[in-house]
């Protein structure tokens, strides 16, 4: 009788576990749709100076307590890590939008999760906009 109950308890546990996806499926998994994700992670700035923008991104990341890991002027990317009891990694990329603007996109990973809440990105762009002396335009 006692064993039976234990068995059904274990069954409940294994059902819960089986309901989860296998960890391999994390490879291409996203929390948000592609369009929605780009919307919250991207802002447009009224400048065409890529180098200055990249340098300002680096300075802003340093101000926010990040240690810059790598940067590539040709690709237009910067990756930085903030360690403060947690591990926050950010990649910021820059690419042209039309003739007069640059698109800045940031994506973040907090410990072992993707950051898919709009607010942290908004905070980042607020800081970046101040450092650029330019307004960060929402892109639709």
């Amino acid at each position: 009788m006692k064993l039976n109950h234990l068995a059904s308890g274990l069954l409940g546990l294994s059902l819960l576990v089986a309901g989860c996806q296998t960890s391999q499926q994390e490879l291409l998994k996203t929390d948000k749709g592609q369009v929605e994700l780009r919307r919250m992670q991207t802002r447009a700035f009224d400048t065409t100076d890529r180098e200055k923008t990249l340098r300002t991104i680096i300075a802003t990341l340093q101000d926010l307590g990040f240690v810059v890991d790598k940067a590539d002027a040709t690709l237009g990317s910067v990756t930085a890590t903030k360690l403060k009891g947690y591990n926050l990694i950010m990649t910021v990329t820059v690419r042209p939008r039309g003739e007069k603007q640059l698109l800045v996109r940031s994506s973040a990973q907090f410990n072992i999760q993707a950051v898919s809440d709009p607010q942290p990105y908004q905070n980042f762009f607020t800081s970046l906009g101040k450092a650029m002396f330019l307004e960060a335009h929402q892109v639709d």
């Binding site: 009788m1 006692k2 109950h5 234990l6 059904s8 308890g9 274990l10 409940g12 546990l13 819960l16 576990v17 989860c20 180098e51 990249l54 340098r55 680096i58 300075a59 340093q62 101000d63 926010l64 307590g65 990040f66 240690v67 810059v68 890991d69 790598k70 940067a71 590539d72 002027a73 910067v78 930085a80 890590t81 903030k82 360690l83 403060k84 009891g85 947690y86 591990n87 926050l88 973040a108 907090f110 410990n111 999760q113 950051v115 809440d117 607010q119 942290p120 990105y121 905070n123 980042f124 607020t126 800081s127």
Partner: protein, 180 residues
């Protein structure tokens, strides 16, 4: 708890364990500037009276080598050089505590190694004739214990270490200028 309730209880516990695995999220202030932002900038950055950014970044790379760092990354077009080193993290205090714990029959995992990273960013400024190069360095480290578990993820914020780094950089600029 009766025997009938037991399986529900086990299932509930399983549910709670699964649920709590996903709780920690990004702190609200993680991507915001605060009162400490300017203070850190002051401690970490120094102005060097030369407009030759390349000369400064070469000296930075030399200084990283002087300090036993390996250079991991660099992008001179953006004024960046990154280095790291792996060193011991054993502290006498922890070793002593481990001995005391062992005498009491308990095991305490002490911190054994650390990976320290230094990231240097240069930026040219000023007008013609009064040009300067700003250098900002930031340090952080990951510490592991003897079971290879991460025990610390932290920035290194001691102003003294930043001071020492910058006086080393002044020296490196001088040494490079004199072909030493």
């Amino acid at each position: 708890m009766s025997q009938k309730e037991a399986p529900y209880f086990i299932t509930l516990v399983a549910l709670i364990i699964l649920g709590t695995g996903c709780v920690a999220t990004i702190p609200k202030e993680a991507l915001k500037m605060d009162g400490a932002t300017m203070e850190f900038r002051k401690v970490q950055a120094r102005r060097y009276d030369t407009g030759d950014e390349t000369k400064v970044i070469v000296a930075c790379a030399g200084l990283l080598q002087d300090l036993g760092f390996n250079i991991d990354e660099s992008e001179t077009k953006l004024g960046l050089v990154v280095g790291s080193k792996a060193r011991t993290a054993v502290e006498a205090g922890q070793v002593a505590a481990k001995v005391v714990f062992a005498l009491l029959g308990a095991n305490m995992a002490i911190e054994t190694d650390q990976r320290i990273k230094a990231s240097i960013v240069t930026r040219k400024g000023g007008e013609a004739g009064k040009e300067y190069t700003m250098v900002r360095v930031t340090f952080q480290r990951i510490v592991r214990n003897e079971n290879n578990q991460i025990t610390r993820l932290e920035p290194l914020n001691d102003p003294k270490q930043y001071q020492e780094f910058h006086s080393g950089l002044s020296k490196a600029l001088f040494l490079n200028a004199n072909d030493i």
